[in-house]
C-alpha cells in the first residue's frame, strides 16, 4: 500500500517558525510533524510513502532517512511548489499502478496533526499553540521511551533534569534532555522541547520553548513561542529577535571552520597545482 504526503511550503501566519527548519520538520512535543504522519501511515498499513517537499527537501530527508525506522520505504521528492492533494493525486496516482491507501489517507497535505484533524497548525501562532496544548494529554503514546508522568498533567522526557527547587504546574511537558534549574517555574500550559535550558528563577507559562533554546535567569515567558533567539507573542502576533543572549538564545553552537582546516588549505593548494602541472606536461609529451 502506498501513500503520499505533501509538505507545507510557506505559511505567512507562522513565517518565523520556518526560519530554521521547514514546517514539516518543526518539533511538536518531541516529534516532527512528518514523523507523526509516518507513524500514522505505518499504523494504517502503508509500506511505501512518497513525500513531496518544496521547502528544503534535503532537510526533510535528513530528518527521516529512508523510513526504515517505521518499517516504511520513504522517498522524498523535491517539488517546485506546494501541490494541492487533487493535483498530487492526478500527477502521481494515475501513472502508478501500486495499490494506494483508501481515499482521505492516500494523499495528505500535512497542515494538521493526524490525531487532531480539526485543529489547523499553520494558520496563526495562536492556532499552532492551541494544537500543541491539545496534543499534550494525548502525547504519552507507548512508543515514547522514558517519558514519565510525575504527577497528573506533568510529563517529563528521557534524561531531563528538574532541580528539586524548580516548580512544575500542570499541565506541562518537559522534553528529553531538558534542564531546569532551581527556582524556575514551568507551567501551566508550558511545553519545553528537547534540550531546553531554563535558568534559575525563570518563569514559563502558556508558552512553547523550541528545541535547544536557553531561557535566561529571571526572565518571564508568557503567551509566547520562544525558538532560539526568536520570541513570538502568539496572543498579540508580534515577533522579536532578542538581541541579548543572556535573556534568550539558541544553545546550538555556531558552526565555524576549525582552525586546523584553515591551516591545511594552503598546504594542499600548491601540491594539487603541482600535480596538475605534471599531468599537463605528461599529456604534452605523450
Amino acid at each position: 500500500m502506498k501513500a503520499l504526503l505533501i509538505c507545507p511550503n510557506e505559511r505567512a501566519g507562522v513565517a518565523a517558525l520556518a526560519e530554521c527548519v521547514p514546517l514539516a520538520n518543526v518539533s511538536i512535543l518531541g516529534k516532527t510533524l512528518v514523523e507523526y504522519w509516518l507513524e500514522h501511515l505505518a499504523c494504517l498499513g502503508a509500506q511505501e510513502v512518497l513525500i513531496l517537499a518544496a521547502d528544503r527537501p534535503d532537510q526533510v530527508f535528513a530528518g527521516i532517512g529512508d523510513g526504515a525506522r517505521w518499517g516504511l520505504r520513504v522517498i522524498v521528492k523535491s517539488d517546485k511548489r506546494e501541490r494541492t492533494p487533487e493535483e498530487a493525486r492526478a500527477r502521481h496516482q494515475t501513472t502508478d499502478k501500486t495499490p494506494w491507501l483508501p481515499a482521505s489517507n492516500d494523499v495528505i497535505l500535512m497542515d494538521y496533526l493526524p490525531s487532531l484533524p480539526q485543529l489547523p497548525l499553520f494558520t496563526s501562532y495562536a492556532d499552532w499553540f492551541a494544537a500543541a496544548q491539545t496534543l499534550m494529554p494525548l502525547a504519552l503514546t507507548p512508543d515514547r521511551l522514558g517519558v514519565r508522568e510525575l504527577k497528573p498533567g506533568e510529563w517529563v522526557g528521557l534524561n531531563a533534569h528538574v532541580s528539586a527547587g524548580a516548580k512544575l504546574i500542570a499541565p506541562c511537558w518537559i522534553g528529553e534532555r531538558a534542564w531546569i534549574e532551581a527556582g524556575a517555574t514551568i507551567g501551566p500550559n508550558a511545553v519545553l522541547e528537547r534540550e531546553v535550558f531554563i535558568a534559575h528563577g525563570a518563569e514559563v507559562s502558556h508558552s512553547v520553548i523550541g528545541p535547544e533554546t536557553l531561557v535566561g535567569q529571571f526572565t518571564e515567558i508568557r503567551n509566547s513561542i520562544a525558538w532560539g533567539s526568536t520570541l513570538i507573542n502568539w496572543q498579540r502576533d508580534s515577533c522579536l529577535k532578542v538581541p541579548d543572549s543572556f535573556l534568550l538564545c539558541s544553545r546550538e553552537p555556531k558552526r565555524t571552520l576549525p582552525v586546523s582546516a584553515n591551516r591545511t588549505a594552503p598546504v594542499h593548494a600548491p601540491l594539487s597545482a603541482t600535480v596538475r602541472f605534471r599531468q599537463y606536461v605528461t599529456q604534452l609529451l605523450t
Binding site: 526572565t219 518571564e220 507573542n233 498579540r236 538581541p243 541579548d244 543572556f246
Partner: protein, 118 residues
C-alpha cells in the same frame, strides 16, 4: 530625544532606540533633568524601534537612582505606547512588574490618567 517637565512629571519623548549605543547618554541626560519637585517620569516609547538589555538596564538604573534620592517622597515611572516588540522585551525582562506600562492605543494622547504613585 525631548525632555519636558510639567506639574511634577518629567516627560521624555522621541526616543528612536534605547540600546548599547545610547543607554549611558540617556541615563545621564535624565539624571541631570531630575530636579527636586519631580514625582514621576513618563517615557513615551511610541517611536522606539530597538531596545536591548543595556537600554532596559538604563531604565532600571534611572528608576533606582530617582527613588534613592526621594526616600521620603513618593515616586513612579511609566512607560507609554511601547511598540509590540519593545513590550515583548520589557515583559521578557519582567520590567512590567516594576514600571507602569500604558499600551499603544489604550488611552488617547494627552488624556493619560495620573500615575499610580508608590
Amino acid at each position: 530625544m525631548n525632555i519636558n517637565q510639567l506639574n511634577g512629571t518629567l516627560r521624555v519623548t522621541g526616543i528612536r532606540e534605547l540600546n548599547t549605543s545610547n543607554a549611558q547618554a540617556f541615563r545621564s541626560a535624565l539624571t541631570r533633568a531630575l530636579s527636586r519637585g519631580i514625582q514621576s517620569i513618563e517615557i513615551d516609547l511610541s517611536q522606539t524601534r530597538a531596545v536591548d538589555g543595556a537600554g532596559l538596564g538604563a531604565l532600571v538604573a534611572l528608576y533606582e537612582n530617582a527613588k534613592e534620592h526621594r526616600k521620603r517622597e513618593v515616586f513612579a515611572m511609566r512607560l507609554t505606547n511601547p511598540t509590540p516588540t519593545v513590550q515583548q522585551m520589557i515583559e521578557l525582562a519582567r520590567l512590567h512588574h516594576l514600571f507602569e506600562i500604558t499600551p499603544q492605543g489604550s488611552t488617547p494622547e494627552g488624556t493619560l490618567p495620573p500615575i499610580n504613585l508608590k
